[in-house]
């Protein structure tokens, strides 16, 4: 007897409504990816000027010189992550478009793998963000307790 899983998998086919939806998803996805590429380039550009801006704001105080480099590094990391996300989104959109136009199952598979990667990376970023927030909260509470004692 064939396993239940295979029977289930064979049931869902891309019908005409899903075909249209996926086509539109690919179109919007491509737009989002292109906007993402532009924004990540702008963030990278801002990273280059962050050091200079911090130096001007510091008024020559050496402690802020290091802060400028730190801000530049943070901006560059954000730009790199955003670029990677946009690249996965772009691959998802272009491969989906090709899959729908040529009925290529392999492109369809690769496209959805890229969609999975978009969600995985975003999920990990959210986890890191929540961890930073929790850490900031702990540090703030500890500092408040230390100050009051």
């Amino acid at each position: 007897m064939e396993p239940n899983q295979n029977l289930l998998s064979a049931d869902i086919q891309v019908d005409s409504i899903s075909h249209l939806n996926l086509k539109e998803i690919a179109m919007w996805g491509k737009l989002l990816a292109i906007v993402g590429f532009i924004l990540s380039a702008l963030i990278a550009l801002a990273a280059l000027f962050a050091g200079t801006v911090m130096e001007i704001m510091s008024g020559g105080m050496p402690i802020f010189g290091g802060a400028g480099i730190l801000v530049s590094i943070i901006y560059l990391v954000i730009a790199a992550i955003y670029f990677a996300l946009s690249l996965f989104m772009f691959r998802f959109a272009t491969k989906m478009k090709t899959a729908l136009e040529t009925t290529d199952q392999e492109n369809f598979n690769t496209s959805l793998y890229n969609l999975k990667m978009v969600y995985r990376i975003t999920g990990i970023i959210v986890i890191i963000y929540l961890a930073i927030l929790a850490l900031a909260l702990i540090v703030t509470v500890a500092a408040a307790m230390f100050a009051s004692s």
């Binding site: 289930l8 998998s9 869902i12 005409s16 409504i17 899903s18 919007w28 136009e101 995985r120 975003t122």
Partner: protein
């Protein structure tokens, strides 16, 4: 004779590989959506509490900006609402996708794809507005 459109549609299907991609995508999307809804709730509360303080600060003292404080509250409220709508669409997409994969329900699959389309549409519109505001602000900054 079958139309090329129908031939295309009949050939693409959800195999085991795609099923595993969908399962993972659904789980991550659900988690991201729940976090998004929580954050939009926090942003909504902040728009009334912090927004009120910012409004007070901007409308008193030497600045006297008039409507600037109100604009801050409005911007925070709009952000919270837009973020909630986006997260809600994503949650529906994730939920329906997981059900579709688990029960092999074609209708749920169609619905999940419709919600993904709406998620991307809202996201693209928001990004476009943000982009236009950014460019408009930069031009205004340059002129003044």
């Amino acid at each position: 004779m079958d139309t090329p459109g129908n031939l295309l549609q009949n050939n693409l299907y959800i195999d085991e590989g795609i099923e595993s991609h969908f399962k993972e995508s659904g789980k991550w999307a659900k988690y991201i959506a729940i976090t998004g809804m929580l954050f939009s709730g926090i942003a909504l509360v902040a728009s009334f509490t912090l927004g009120g303080r910012i409004e007070g600060a901007l409308n008193s003292g030497f600045i006297m900006s008039g409507t600037a404080g109100f604009m801050v509250i409005l911007a925070m409220l709009l952000f919270a609402v837009a973020y909630f709508i986006l997260s809600h669409y994503m949650y529906r997409f994730a939920n329906k996708l997981l059900v579709a994969v688990d029960t092999s329900d074609r209708y749920e699959f169609v619905e999940s794809m419709r919600h993904l389309k709406n998620t991307y549409k809202v996201m693209a519109i928001l990004f476009s507005i943000y982009f236009l505001l950014f460019i408009g602000g930069s031009i205004a900054d340059f002129i003044w």
